[in-house]
Symmetry: C2
Subunit: 400 residues, 2 copies
């Protein structure tokens, strides 16, 4: 705090806070913002005027207040004008979206990815083509204020470097750098771990809204995790925190792509589900997993047995996380949504028998609200971070 | 930030920051404080004058600067005058200390605790007697500015309630309330989980100084954990976070006092060590564990085998935590210091084979610097929190 923040810093902070309110919470009347932010009406008016002049929000009369007297103007994010580009590299798909302020998907592209070793050049070319197509379709006065990508691997966020992605075959790939070069936006493309970004998205506008301590478990082919501790994403020393998929739950268990054995990833991942169900080599990916859950539902004994085994290990993993983090919420996303729906009983039973009572007493289990868009939406939140931190300055770096 | 902090809030913050610098870092010259805090000399002078007038620090000429020119005055904490009372309830001992500003133990009492079910009344009476003795021996002008206790169980810190302590037999014990009533200090006694407070102490003035992401593992009879994430103690939703001792490392393993099986606590705790070594029923506690480590050192095959087994499970647990938290440091404290010294090879080998490379690349293992005082020192830091947050106000609530 030093000698205290300057007037300029206070203004910047307040502009960012107001913008975040309408970005996350949707249109708000000036009166609501006044009470949410604890500022007086004239300050809110001045802040809104600045954001309006910058083209980040607009003010409108509410449709019908149903109340007498002069209605409070409603502040809306300029969703169609101010947008970011978000990307998602999963094992089985590449996705891209143009997402407007307020978290609205304005445009979206997706392509199936073959299960081949990661090819940096081809991936970046595909995502670059998506970006070009989507930007061409944007309104003439639209501005791109950020770009970010989710990647199914361990990411050094400071360098945009994918350190490792056992399920996709990526090692030390300069993904952020290449994507930045390809997009020529004039600013760098941020990169984050997909499960971390999924956690961010669910925390901001999904099942975890308002929770300060949550765990998001993401199933792709393997299992990733993103953890929110006291409202902040757990980074760890190098930013690699949250790799709960490689927590050992069964020490002598199945071999894992990481070189260890019995990791949550190995015991609960796609291959475990399919092999236990005797369906390995048939349909893969989400369809394959969903087919097992559906078959179990219809009474297929082998599929039921597969889910029982997988659910037990998932339960041990979740129980460990409940003891370690005392979370308010555990969210199951990606392919784990399907698995959780088929194994909730096993998971709950493990939590009941393998956690301390105080640690579990308020812990709820939920499936992702954002579904397959969680990681992509999380990339958008990462891309919006700059404009929310310093709204007026961020506009000086919009893409040409 | 609202309309920005008031001058009074800024002053309070700066007074607390300056006091924390000399409390944690020891005596500092005004010149050092000026540069550490990024404030100008006259502001530092004014802050120091306020803290001096309050009796929290004093200014002295340095002994010998070895430099020409007018030396900068040195600001020292009033260690002998301003103190807190710290308590520690472990399975095998009750300890209390009078600890001066700057973290100096001025007086200390300790008594062996028999392994009987927890008796709230007797425990509080013993600690109360310690406090009385120590306060009687304090200087006439000394002031007690806080009091806190570490407890070997799950603690609801807001209520000072010990929710559970399987190793000591405590359930829903209103420990903080009773101790507050007994001490009649005029302010409440804070209570925290012992491993959490050990983490706080090692982070503040022990092996973890300067680290923002660390894990402190505390061995008493069982295993507890305190985790620092981005410089802050991990609390979780109800404040019960960090119960790493009940992470399952061996699903079909030894029964645990918590009702589960194969918890880190059960596989690495005192009883596991003694039973594997064929010494259960002989010496217990720290002496018993140390005897096994010493015997292994001397070539006792059974003791070596015991450590090998225990070390393997400890290694699996630490590897899981490295994957989950990507810490800079793991600190082994309490009885785990001895165990780690006898099992470092197993622990390191599990980390090498069972973690992702990026997660482990900067993770170091260390034994506690504060040793058996870590939890007690952590209680003192908790007790000092109030005076560091608002130095002048806290003095208005000193004990009579």
């Amino acid at each position: 705090m030093r000698a205290g923040p300057s007037q300029e810093e206070i203004r910047k902070h307040n502009l960012g806070t107001l913008l975040r309110h309408v970005h996350v919470g949707g249109p708000r009347s000036r009166a609501e913002l006044t009470s949410l932010m604890g500022l007086n009406r004239s300050t809110i008016m001045a802040l809104t005027a600045d954001l309006t002049a910058a083209g980040l929000v607009r003010e409108e009369l509410p449709r019908d207040t149903g109340r007498a007297g002069r209605p409070s103007l409603v502040v809306r994010p300029e969703t169609a004008r101010v947008y970011v580009l978000a990307f998602d590299v999963g094992v089985d798909r590449l996705a891209a979206a143009r997402i407007g302020l307020g978290g609205v998907i304005l445009d979206r592209r997706e392509i199936v990815r073959a299960r081949e070793p990661f090819d940096l050049g081809r991936t970046v070319a595909t995502l670059g083509a998506f970006a070009r197509q989507m930007r061409r379709r944007a309104r003439a006065d639209a501005v791109c204020v950020g770009a970010a990508a989710a990647f199914c691997g361990t990411v050094d966020a400071s360098a945009g470097l994918v350190r490792s992605g056992p399920n996709i075959g990526a090692v030390d790939a300069p993904f952020g750098e290449e994507l930045t070069r390809r997009l020529t936006l004039g600013f760098p493309v941020s990169v984050g771990n997909d499960a971390d970004l999924g956690a961010l998205a669910e925390h901001t506008r999904g099942a975890g809204r308002g929770c300060r301590d949550l765990i998001y478990l993401h199933g792709d082919v393997g299992i990733g995790g993103g953890i929110i501790v006291n409202g902040q994403l757990l980074g760890g020393h190098g930013g690699y925190g949250g790799e709960v998929g490689h927590m050992v739950v069964n020490p002598d268990g199945r071999p894992c792509g990481c070189g260890s054995r019995g990791c949550l990833d190995a015991e609960v991942g796609e291959r475990a589900v399919l092999e236990h169900a005797g369906r390995y080599g048939e349909a893969i990916g989400r369809d394959g997993v969903r087919a097992v859950v559906d078959a179990a539902d219809r009474g297929d004994v082998m599929a039921q047995d597969a889910l029982q085994r997988v659910g037990g290990w998932l339960g041990v993993g979740v129980a460990n996380l409940v003891n370690i983090f005392n979370p308010e919420l555990v969210i199951f996303g990606g392919m784990l949504r399907d698995i959780y729906l088929g194994t909730a009983a096993q998971v709950r039973s493990r939590i009941a028998t393998r956690t301390l009572f105080p640690s579990r007493e308020h812990a709820r289990m939920r499936t992702s609200w954002l579904g397959d868009d969680a990681t992509l939406m999380g990339a958008a939140e990462l891309a919006f971070a700059q404009v929310l931190a310093d709204p007026l300055d961020a506009l000086s770096r919009v893409a040409p």
